[in-house]
């Protein structure tokens, strides 16, 4: 094993462990500010360090510190303390390792050796995801049950029944995807989606299997216990559902687990249906050949984009009431300078790409980075959809939820499998 090998392993493991954690902050921030803007209010924007609010991101830090230093209570009526403490960690851990099989860039070829960009390179890919998300039910069941609390028990009953029954349409929707792709390996699926359909549409799962996409997304929402399927928490009926008895850091772990699960399932949806790390119309091979033109266009595009972004910051980061020497204007100026600095750094890197020899390892690394960025942008967009749906739709009633799962999605998924296999056989 050379030094490079060890480095690449460290990179990919670190990526798949830390990116979900970093995205907790992004998700929470997007959720709160997004919720605010959807509802024509501002969302948390006051917490500041020396007047710098970072668009409300500082609030996350404040909340984190608060939860960390809160009293961690386990009330006396809880008999099974071990399970009680273990439950949030099961949920969190399952959520993190379910992301481990998602490829975030195409195989990186350096010095004649390929490096898979996946936390755990595994052939079984999507099956691993199914297995691990199934485990998070244990956390929910144990939490509700060991709380010895009516609301907790009811919440975890609902949640467990929901997760178990939506796993079936999810699995069936997957089966038709597997028929199309002919593999369970997520990397191969992403590579498959780099092709073009009829020569002009990217061959994404979403275009090949729209029904499957619908079913999978609905089931994924249900698996994450997010609105419109958040009956497990149902504040108005169940107080907080399975985590009523949890406080401080244990609650925070549940909370973070929920967001990591959201991130992981967005990543899976992206990989299955929206081409994973693939940039539409530019597959890995094309990108490596055209590394220089791509870099050149990015060099032109970045400052232009940044110019408009700076204008947007300047317009919106002001106090909307008469105030002399508005500190928010200086704040905005600092942000803009930081972003310009970032742009300059990226430009320098791009110049580096331009003067390097084409098709070399610099181009390969550049392409990998580009694909990682694409992947993260796509995942962020999917997370945004989650948030968007949450702040648009009301909650289902429980019988409606089960009816939807068993009477609509299940037959639809089965029908989809039959049609898909018929078409695939007819075409081959």
């Amino acid at each position: 094993m050379s030094l490079l090998d060890i480095f690449m392993i460290a990179v990919r493991v670190a990526f798949s462990a830390f990116i979900p954690l970093c995205f907790i902050a992004v998700c929470v921030w997007m959720e709160r500010r997004g919720a605010g803007f959807f509802q024509d209010r501002a969302g948390p924007n006051r917490a500041a360090i020396y007047g710098f609010r970072a668009a409300g991101l500082v609030q996350n830090a404040a909340d984190g510190i608060k939860l960390f230093f809160k009293e961690d209570m386990i009330s006396d009526h809880i008999k099974h303390k071990f399970f009680f403490v273990m439950a949030p960690f099961i949920v969190f851990f399952c959520a993190i390792i379910s992301f481990a099989v998602v490829p975030f860039a195409d195989t990186l070829v350096l010095g004649g050796r390929g490096y898979v960009m996946q936390g755990i390179p595994m052939d079984i890919g999507i099956l691993w995801f199914l297995a691990v998300t199934g485990f998070s039910v244990y956390g929910i069941i144990l939490a509700g049950w060991s709380s010895a609390n009516k609301f907790g028990l009811l919440g975890s009953l609902r949640s467990a029944a929901q997760v178990i029954s939506y796993e079936i349409p999810m699995g069936l929707a997957l089966v038709s995807m597997l028929i199309v792709y002919g593999t369970v390996n997520l990397s191969e699926m992403a590579q498959y989606q780099g092709q073009l359909l009829f020569g002009f549409i990217p061959m994404w799962g979403a275009f090949l299997q729209p029904v499957s996409l619908m079913i999978f997304v609905i089931a994924a929402f249900a698996e994450c216990n997010r609105t419109p399927f958040d009956l497990a928490e149902g504040e108005s009926e169940l107080v907080a559902g399975f985590h009523v008895e949890y406080s401080a850091m244990k609650f925070a772990v549940f909370f973070m687990g929920e967001y990591v699960a959201m991130f992981a399932s967005s990543a899976i949806i992206i990989t299955l249906f929206f081409g994973g790390y693939q940039i539409p119309f530019l597959n890995t091979q094309a990108l490596i050949t055209f590394a220089k033109p791509v870099a050149f266009f990015m060099m032109i595009g970045l400052p232009i984009g940044m110019y408009y972004f700076a204008g947007w910051i300047r317009r919106n980061n002001v106090s909307h009431y008469p105030r002399e020497n508005d500190p928010r204007v200086t704040e905005a100026n600092v942000y803009i300078k930081c972003f310009w600095g970032l742009v300059v750094i990226i430009e320098l890197l791009l110049i580096g790409i331009l003067i390097c020899q084409s098709g070399g390892s610099a181009a390969h690394v550049f392409v990998a980075l580009l694909q990682i960025c694409t992947f993260l942008v796509k995942v962020t967009m999917m997370i945004f959809v989650y948030i968007w749906v949450r702040w648009t739709l009301p909650r289902f009633r429980y019988d409606q939820l089960q009816k939807l799962g068993w009477q609509m999605l299940l037959p639809l998924a089965l029908l989809n499998i039959f049609i898909t296999s018929a078409v695939v056989i007819a075409l081959s």
Partner: protein, 169 residues
């Protein structure tokens, strides 16, 4: 070397889980230990590079079946004082062990008499999804279908039996 350490760890965990299943009084604890056993068994399959069985063990046994069992235990919400008092359970345990020891000795002997082979990985892609699928649906198609028919019969039988009881009421 690494694989050996893993093997020992998984083997120990699976045996510990099994012991826990027997010794714990509370059904939830028993079920959780059974999950430990199931997952370590999956680990053992993975060490044999039988990928498909590894995930199936995780999805079906450790995932679906155990979550149903735990779901039921939670549903019944059994408290410690609902459990029957088991007198002399250690006596029964000792009796059970006494019965099993000769059989176990016999089994160990049988295993030892199997001609020793160097453990090697069988064939290319052994245990992968594709290979198992090919074998299952080409060589063993008829037995596979018969088994699935049997399961279907069992399923319908269960539904019928459950329905009958409701009618009688």
């Amino acid at each position: 070397m690494f694989a050996e350490v893993l093997f020992i760890a998984f083997a120990a965990l699976s045996i510990l889980g099994a012991i826990g299943l027997i010794l714990f009084r509370h059904p939830m604890k028993g079920a959780m230990s059974l999950i430990v056993t199931m997952i370590s068994l999956a680990g053992l399959y993975a060490l044999l590079s039988a990928e498909l069985i590894f995930v199936l063990q995780l999805i079906v046994y450790a995932g679906a079946i155990m979550s149903l069992i735990i779901f039921i235990i939670m549903f019944l919400n059994i408290q410690d004082n609902d459990l029957p008092i088991e007198e002399g359970r250690y006596l029964y345990l000792a009796g059970g062990i006494a019965v099993i020891i000769p059989i176990a000795c016999f089994m160990i002997k049988v295993v030892k008499s199997i001609p020793a082979h160097q453990a090697t990985i069988v064939g290319n892609g052994f245990g992968g999804v594709k290979e198992v699928g090919l074998v299952l649906f080409q060589d063993w198609l008829l037995p596979f279908e018969i088994v699935s028919l049997l399961l279907l019969v069992a399923l319908i039988g269960a539904v019928v039996l459950a329905g009958k009881r409701r009618l009688l009421k």
